[in-house]
Subunit: 345 residues, 2 copies
Amino acid sequence: MKPAISIRDVAILAEVSVGTVSNVLNRPDVVAAATRERVLAAIDELGYVRNEPARQLRSGTARTIGLVVPDVGNPFFTDVARGVEAAASEAGHAVILCNSDESVERERGHVELLASQRVHGVLITPVQAGPVPLRQLQDRGISVVLVDHPTAEENRCSVAVDDRHGGELAVTHLLAEGCSRIVMVTGPPGIHQAAERHRGARDAVRLAGRPPEVLEELTAPALNVACGLRAGEQLLARAVLPDAVFCANDLLALGLLQATVRAGVRVPEDLAIVGYDDIDFAAAAAVPLTSVRQPRHEIGRTAAALLIAESQSPDEHVHRHVVFTPELVVRESSRRPREARKRSG
Amino acid sequence: MKPAISIRDVAILAEVSVGTVSNVLNRPDVVAAATRERVLAAIDELGYVRNEPARQLRSGTARTIGLVVPDVGNPFFTDVARGVEAAASEAGHAVILCNSDESVERERGHVELLASQRVHGVLITPVQAGPVPLRQLQDRGISVVLVDHPTAEENRCSVAVDDRHGGELAVTHLLAEGCSRIVMVTGPPGIHQAAERHRGARDAVRLAGRPPEVLEELTAPALNVACGLRAGEQLLARAVLPDAVFCANDLLALGLLQATVRAGVRVPEDLAIVGYDDIDFAAAAAVPLTSVRQPRHEIGRTAAALLIAESQSPDEHVHRHVVFTPELVVRESSRRPREARKRSG
DNA sequence: TCGCCGAGATGAACCGATTCAAACCAGAGG
DNA sequence: CCTCTGGTTTGAATCGGTTCATCTCGGCGA
């Protein structure tokens, strides 16, 4: 390893002062063309790369933003992350992606890390509902945008999707397809998104003038494929199968789909299935999955844009709460043939 | 935003010098217990959080390592990332996860970013085979470990999987199941892993004493679900279907599985399918997918451990090349019934 | 009583950039 | 010839930590 090369080495080689080199890097217009060329040549020759931590220390502004998601294994969040990345890199920011793996503990650790790194801002989808311990960040002037978190707090921006409406869309569709014994697979009570979707599902039943018994709830311990499988097995163990299942996300739905198809249940003839998120695997499932689409990329992009806007004019920034409207994508897994409709409808 | 609180504020409140506060933080044993308590109390009261960039500037050592993967959407890499995270956080390091999205351009950008951040080390799965432009990093004493990259370069550590052997396992299995017209779906020529798997597949044919025509190659433009779908459609358009397909990764296999099952092809009776990676979705597919398992978590963990070991004793560090051996996991998608074997065998 | 010792605390120098008031300089105008 | 002006360049101060040579002081042995 050669001795590190600093802005001083560049200055010496180009026969200018360090201030001038800094100007070439940050305000190229104020330095004379000839000088600029000489400095750039020196930078090139030495292979100089700016020491970002030092820059940050002096200037006080970081070029990185943090993104904390509860599950990187869920394609929904990787797509959100892609959107964040796109908007951030346009603004010259890098993204530190942190995975809290549904653990409040780990989430706290990541927030602490980002605070000590003095990142420019943080986007976070909190693991649990309710106020998040983000004082560490905001005490340091690090702005925070909540992503996909239903509780709109007054003191920060947020981006979310109308999950209640999404749940309503899904169940309204199932009722229209003639289903009358619907099970909704939700997640643990802490997960707000799932709770909202469930609320929307109940709305749909009420609005259709059907008795509440039409919709039953089944709680899964987590929103992943393994739990979907288990939920499917639980349903199969029953004497009577429902005629439709609405899952709180696609991972659950894919697991449940596998369990039921493998057991010989015909989807959608015997059992209609609807998921949520419309991840790419949903369309590619054995029986293409009906799902409620969220604009994943757009969610990430918007969240990052809000963050950047806020930090550019922190004083008279008005916090905004952007809510996207989800959209039902009907595929084979819930298209019931005429006789099935008659039979149960 | 309150004025930022620095180590100096802590020192004043605790009535000690800044040097002592720093000692409490970094060498708690050299400071007297009473003083230590007083300082810790002050830190707590003020909510002080260390300014990591400043620390890094002076001490020269960062607490972050970079991980560059070609596709965060691929569960294989998110599992590798989890392994990296586990080992890194044990050693007190944070991970910056970068997604190059199969683009050499973006990969270069990320490497540049990590160099300017002066990270502690970088783990990278290069998009393309061949020497990677990492001088930027190594000039600055940033050690690099190649992950899942077959070309073992002398000047750094690497972690890989014996992909050739994996390919051989897969095709040997298919031959044993009685398949005799096998198509291997590979990726673009730049992707070394896929090429190695293909080579292993040819080995298997040769070792079984079968003519090379038994194995045919089909190139997909990328290793994702969409391309798998397209590859499946291409096969379906043929006059004669092969009796087995070996895909360079599970995403391709899942796409192909969907295309063929949807078209009424029976898997495995008419067509056996084998994937590669054994991602969680593989077991959860409509027809559970036979796949070649790689120790994903272990790969990440080992790579991070090598990196940390190297940076702890950079002088007399001996570069290691760890190669894991893959393992065939047989599931339903390739278990051919007796008659099928006879028919084609 | 004196000197020495070592544990503990101190504070100034330093890391590599940015910033900004001041210096510089060439040419125009008086 | 001198002054003024505006575009360039300079260099020292600074950011918030870490490090280390130096200092303090109570105790102990001579």
